[in-house]
Symmetry: C2
Subunit: 317 residues, 2 copies
């Protein structure tokens, strides 16, 4: 264990010595703090792997809370016999992801369990970030008339993983959208003061995040299906796999709810950022029916979107 940490983890991360706690100094006293465990299967998928996913996922949780992510911890649970090469690849891609996101992984832990008692590798990350000035998104701030925006194409991560799991290949391949959203959020915060709410639609997809926003705000989300950015290949793959793209996980996407008169400026700023180039206005907030998400389908029908019951895609992240 000591050798593993010394030789493979310490050089890649910013671990401070081999003590258990890292010391940090922060200017501001307002912090966001979060954690997530990653159990994605397979651990390597088109466009990413469990390592960078575990960095970006936690970075994104902080970013959509309105915080600039600064420090991460990483806890590994490794099944005996797991290939050292795979571990090295994962750790190295975590280090690269941390660099790209501008965060430091400053504390870690590794536990090994017997063969058959885990599935390769599970990673937990936690993260802290400093709240950005003027940004404190909360579902309680959502008001009737607000605009609902999504930052890009939906369904890419889930389809990339499910295709890999089922041995389906696309040409060109469908890649996971796994990416750090903190740069996009910073751009957004500079472009608009009236951002009420942000969340990244991971497990459960866009529909689940919209339903959470509706329930937590007590408002109604009225969504126009034809406005939701959806790559025809993703649509086709969903048909093939029997999945609803609205419920498929994303890992580099966010939903933002913003004051209507700022929606134009915000969208323009988002479209100028590489991770927001397909951003779109997809609907509006109404007062009621409370807690509901109403989808206007492309053929003019209306569908009520509910939270996903059970897991459409187990171990997607």
């Amino acid at each position: 264990m000591h050798r593993l940490i010394r030789e493979h983890f310490a050089p890649e991360f910013a671990l401070e010595g081999l003590g258990d706690s890292a010391l940090i100094s922060l200017k501001s006293g307002r912090l966001a703090y979060t954690t997530d465990s990653y159990v994605v299967s397979p651990i390597f998928f088109p466009g990413g792997n469990i390592g960078e996913l575990s960095v970006y996922g936690t970075v994104n949780d902080l970013a959509v809370a309105g915080a600039m992510p600064l420090y991460l911890t990483a806890g590994f649970i490794i099944e005996e016999g797991f290939l050292l090469e795979d571990l090295k690849a994962i750790v190295s891609s975590m280090a690269g992801a941390a660099r790209r996101a501008g965060v430091k992984i400053i504390a870690g832990d590794t536990k090994v369990v017997n063969r058959g008692k885990a599935d390769g590798i599970f990673i937990n990350t936690s993260g802290i970030g400093v709240m950005m000035d003027g940004l404190e998104p909360s579902p309680l701030g959502i008001k009737a008339g607000d605009a609902v925006i999504v930052s890009g194409q939906i369904g890419r991560h889930g389809i990339a993983v499910m295709a890999e799991r089922n041995g389906i290949t696309f040409d060109p391949p469908v890649l996971s959208d796994t990416a750090p959203l903190n740069g996009l959020v910073k751009t957004m915060a500079e472009a608009a003061k009236g951002i009420r709410f942000m969340r990244d639609p991971t497990r459960g997809g866009l529909a689940t995040t919209l339903k959470e926003a509706a329930l937590e705000s007590g408002k109604c989300m009225k969504i126009k299906g034809s406005s939701i950015p959806l790559d025809p290949r993703i649509r086709g793959a969903c048909g093939l796999l029997g999945l609803d793209p609205l419920y498929v996980a994303n890992e580099g996407l966010l939903v933002a709810i913003v004051e209507a008169n700022e929606a134009g400026d915000l969208l323009e700023a988002m479209k100028n950022h590489p991770l927001g180039k397909d951003a779109a206005l997809i609907g509006a907030v109404e007062d009621g029916p409370e807690g509901m998400v109403l989808l206007e389908t492309s053929i003019g029908g209306r569908r009520i979107l509910d939270m996903l019951e059970g897991e459409q895609l187990p171990r997607i992240c």
Copy 2:
């Protein structure tokens, strides 16, 4: 998942809504930050369970770093089919442990994996704490002549778990020493200004922690075997199980290295605290041989203590 969190986790913990990040405000800017995953088997053992262990373990990492622990996150990886009653018992004991340690569990995450892909439940916790004034223990501060102190009986956690695993019972039972050390550390910091180093000898036991202190400081730890607090029942159990008590895990114990002229005051203060009543001076720091731990055995021999190679007790925490 939503129901699980809403019904069982949110009422027990201090989760702030169901968003992913928790917001915290801190007065001081100097923080300690740590993480640990817990994979102990069995998950219930005499004197504790994986839940309180996951709280106290992280609390203790912060405490021995010289920080007052404040906030924790908890990430659960649960095997499908895991008993809801067991989950409730674990969550409830985490909540109790957090109360006793004076910390808040403010963010959490749950992932479920298929049957056979994990072993019941794994828990990761991370924690942040504010550095206590005048306390910044570091192996680099260790000097020749310093006193080496251990806070209590060694080997209790490891033996409690191993006995349970092997179906051995003691009458009265040997209980794990799992406990939060932050109160003891606070008492210690008030009693002595010259605390150079603290660490909790968990995996790898007392010998491994002493070896780490020797290696990281470049000094020699000269230890008197007969001074190490060791319950005869633990000694007997170790004989029975073929274990060396010096390498058996502890979960409510710390090693402190302190300026020699403060050792008396520090020991007295420790003995007045319930978790330090068996505290003992077990040796002294010498300049060399560098990085060595020399144990003077009770029959007058000398033994070199090395780090544990491999795991004497896999999945002990």
